[in-house]
């Protein structure tokens, strides 16, 4: 894993700081590691980071929400938009273990829309496997 992407940070007006780090998980997979709360203030940063990854080339995306304690409807909307904008054959996986975030996904019925897995390995396996299946 080599960090080649620039850090894209933002500061939450509240007490929690927010940070998105881009890394390359594999030759065809980018990882966006999010730390802090994903809300109205930080959602735009996630949106630009996702757009940056998606616009570059046909790369799989893994969004690591392990460091996220809360995600609001605006940030969920960003993820939904990214999911719907995926090129054919490209997959997006969400790595998440936080109970609150998992419950929010479940409450909003969006858990059925994303591949939500507990670890990065699972996420990589999912996107790589789907690539193999597609290829």
């Amino acid at each position: 894993m080599q960090a080649i992407g620039a850090n894209q940070g933002d500061t939450d007006p509240g007490e929690v700081s927010f940070l998105i780090t881009r890394k390359e998980l594999a030759h065809d997979t980018s990882l966006l590691a999010v730390e802090g709360d994903l809300d109205l203030a930080s959602a735009p940063s996630l949106k630009w980071a996702l757009a940056d990854v998606q616009s570059a080339e046909s790369r799989h995306v893994v969004v690591d929400l392990s460091g996220v304690g809360f995600i609001d409807s605006t940030a969920l909307g960003v993820l939904v938009g990214a999911q719907r904008a995926l090129d054919p054959g490209v997959r997006l996986a969400v790595a998440c273990t936080d109970e609150n975030v998992l419950r929010i996904f479940e409450l909003t019925g969006l858990d059925g829309m994303f591949e939500i897995v507990p670890t990065l390995q699972d996420a990589l396996g999912f996107v790589q496997g789907s690539t193999t299946a597609a290829g």
Binding site: G14, E15, V16, D39, L40, A41, F70, D72, S73, T74, G77, V80, G81, Q83, R84, N100, R103, E106, L107, T108, G109, L110, D111, G112, M113
Partner: protein, 677 residues
């Protein structure tokens, strides 16, 4: 308006500063010519001349000019037939008048006066330069005058007056103020010169004699001449005090001029010496004379300002120019900024009016009671960029049913508002058409999704059937309603339906509750449970507790009271909060979930979340595979399968059918095709 005035206040200091600077510049521009005059021409009073005479730089220039003027006066004297020597020019001018005939005298007088004035100017100019010899000359010049003027009579006085009248007509109208100023100035000069003369015995005597001789026709002048020599100058000044100076004072002025002109025209630098020599007397007389002179031009303030401006160096003028430009720039910027502020303020008001209008359409006035149900609703917009997007509606349906719609559109502000309207009326129409909550969502979602664009919306639809005492609700990505007396975790969260616009079929879940007794059903948006108390989410459990507390007073159990309580208990509310409360009357008896409904397509029928749902619904793990296999089979035939789980006493009862909305849409589609044909 208070806000607006505050904004304007912010811009006031630069504007006022710029204004002050502009005024300063205007003053500077006004006084600039005066300063130039004061530099090029002699100062108005001998005291000034004395002061400037001490400035060595100006001395040579003024001396040159004085010489020039002296030459001119010589020429004037020659023209008048008097000796070429300027020493005698003054006396010639003064003495020529009485000797000349009645006709020729006025012409001679005019010439003499011109010579006098030229000499006067020269004297004032030369006041700065020194020359001891001037004193002697002055006395000699003055000596000539009295002898010549001794014979002046009443007739010569008349002639002089006429000559003066003519001169005035010829030279054009002179304003009263100017005249007064000039008179005062000349009187002061006369006084000073007289005083100067008093220092030198001979000069004093001749000056007095000159006044006596030349202006004998005027009683005031005579009086002045009779006064003790030291006070002669002062008295002469006093005579100019009347607002309309009489002939006497004019005569006196001429006397002074003649004396001064006669004395100083010759060597041009004499006056300076005279003034300097009379330094002891001058301060005593001249300032007083200046104070007594009524005109504004010679007021000490103007004099001081003029003097200050006169000594301002070029670099300071440049600086003032730069400052003036800066002031102009600041004023322009300030004006532009103020205009922009006004424009933005107006736009903001317009926007708020627009939002207000839309908000009025979105948030309807609810009837306090719909049949046996009390209804209250409240909306608290977020005080930031998160404002806008929440909506609700409560209305009566046929057969006594009450319908509730509460939702939240993603995105905020103005762009979200049209979507809230669209959702509210579209969903209401489907409910009015007789569909149940889930069916209405299922049928409306595809149409709404097309119109929402990239936005999506979470919504809960509910109907209350008072006869069956059943509350049915269906959520699309929206929090489940809370019911007093029901565990907030009782509704099955697993396999919730996604929001409208997420690209997935929604309206796939419905929950039916039996409400046998009195209860309060609270519908709300996620802004309520996502409000923060010190970084922690408010959550459904706290909201449920707050609702239970409120319920102790049935009258106070309103949506507004609920949201106010939430506001009291939270410190950060980043999203809108909306709540809608149904007060269901009745006796005892807790609400209970009687059925859960889920629509499954082929993919969902095999997913992990469906298994979680079935487990949560109380389906035995061993039965799950069999149920899912049957669902897949039905979905394969009809596109989807509808699973109803009745949760009464004992084990749940499962019913598998196919979706009842699909035939509805098929019928609609068939009808559209018929129309097209």
């Amino acid at each position: 308006m208070a806000r607006r005035s505050g904004v304007l206040k912010t811009f006031a200091p630069p504007a006022s500063l710029a204004l002050a600077l502009c005024i300063l510049i205007a003053l500077a521009v006004l006084f600039e010519p005066a300063a130039a005059d004061s530099a090029a021409q002699p100062a108005p009073a001998p005291t000034e001349a004395g002061a400037s005479g001490e400035a060595g730089a100006e001395r040579s220039a003024s001396t040159r000019k004085a010489e020039r003027l002296a030459r001119r006066s010589e020429r004037a004297a020659e023209a008048n037939g008097t000796p070429a020597k300027s020493e005698e020019a003054g006396s010639g001018a003064a003495t020529g008048t009485p000797r000349a005939g009645t006709d020729a005298s006025s012409k001679a007088t005019r010439r003499a006066e011109r010579a006098e004035r030229a000499a006067d100017r020269a004297a004032r100019k030369a006041a700065g330069s020194s020359g001891k010899t001037g004193v002697k000359n002055s006395s000699r010049a003055a000596t000539g005058s009295p002898a010549a003027s001794k014979g002046s009579s009443e007739r010569s006085r008349e002639e002089r007056r006429r000559a003066h009248e003519e001169e005035r007509k010829k030279s054009g109208r002179e304003s009263y103020k100017e005249k007064k100023a000039r008179l005062a100035r000349e009187a002061v000069e006369a006084a000073a010169l007289a005083a100067a003369g008093s220092n030198e015995g001979a000069a004093l005597q001749t000056a007095t004699a000159a006044a006596n001789g030349l202006a004998a026709s005027s009683p005031e002048a005579r009086a002045a001449a009779e006064t003790p020599p030291v006070l002669a100058g002062e008295h002469a000044v006093r005579t100019t005090k009347p607002r309309r100076p009489g002939a006497g004072s004019k005569q006196l002025r001429r006397t002074g001029n003649a004396a001064a002109g006669g004395s100083f025209a010759l060597t041009s630098a004499a006056a300076g010496a005279a003034v300097r020599n009379s330094g002891a007397n001058l301060p005593a007389h001249a300032p007083r004379a200046a104070h007594r002179a009524p005109p504004a031009k010679s007021s000490p303030l103007v004099t001081t300002v003029t003097r200050i401006i006169g000594v301002i160096p070029t670099s300071v003028w440049l600086l003032i120019g730069v400052l003036a430009l800066a002031a102009l720039a600041f004023a322009t910027t300030s004006r532009l900024a103020a205009g922009r502020v006004r424009r933005l303020d107006r736009q903001r008001r317009e926007l708020l009016e627009d939002v207000g209008l839309l908000q009025g359409a979105l948030l309807p006035e609810l009837p306090a009671r719909l049949g046996p149900v009390t209804t209250t609703a409240a909306y608290r917009p977020a005080s930031g960029p998160g404002a806008g997007g929440d909506f609700y509606d409560v209305f009566a349906l046929p057969e006594g049913l009450v319908a509730v719609i509460v939702g939240d559109v993603s995105g905020h502000g103005r762009e979200a508002l049209p979507h809230t309207t669209l959702l509210r009326y579209t969903l209401r129409a489907y409910l009015e058409a007789g569909l149940g909550p889930r069916e209405a969502l299922r049928a409306a979602a595809p149409a709404l999704e097309r119109q929402l664009g990239e936005s999506f919306a979470t919504v809960v639809l509910a109907t209350w059937d008072p006869r069956e005492r059943l509350l049915s609700y269906s959520c699309a990505g929206h929090p489940h309603p809370l019911l007093s007396g029901l565990d907030p975790n009782a509704p099955i969260i697993a396999c919730s339906a996604p929001p409208i616009g997420a690209g997935r079929p929604t309206g796939t879940r419905q929950t039916v509750l039996s409400v046998p007794g009195g209860a309060v059903a609270a519908f709300y948006t996620d802004g309520v449970i996502e409000a923060r108390t010190g970084g922690e989410l408010y959550g459904t459990q706290r909201l449920s507790d707050t609702l239970r507390e409120l319920e102790r007073d049935a009258e106070a159990t309103t949506a507004a009271a609920l949201l106010d309580r939430v506001r009291e208990q939270t410190d950060r509310r980043p999203d809108d909060m909306a709540a809608c409360l149904l007060g269901i009357s009745g006796g005892e008896g807790r609400p209970v979930i009687v059925s859960e409904e889920i629509e499954l397509d082929g993919r969902e029928a095999g997913s992990a979340r469906t298994r979680r749902f079935l487990l949560a619904a109380g389906v035995a793990p061993g039965e799950i595979d069999r149920v899912l296999a049957s669902a897949r089979a039905i979905a394969a035939d009809h596109g989807n399968a509808l699973l109803q789980i009745s949760r009464g006493e004992g084990s749940p009862r499962l019913t598998l059918t196919h979706d009842n909305v699909a035939p509805l849409r098929a019928r609609a589609l068939a009808r559209t095709q018929e129309v097209a044909l």
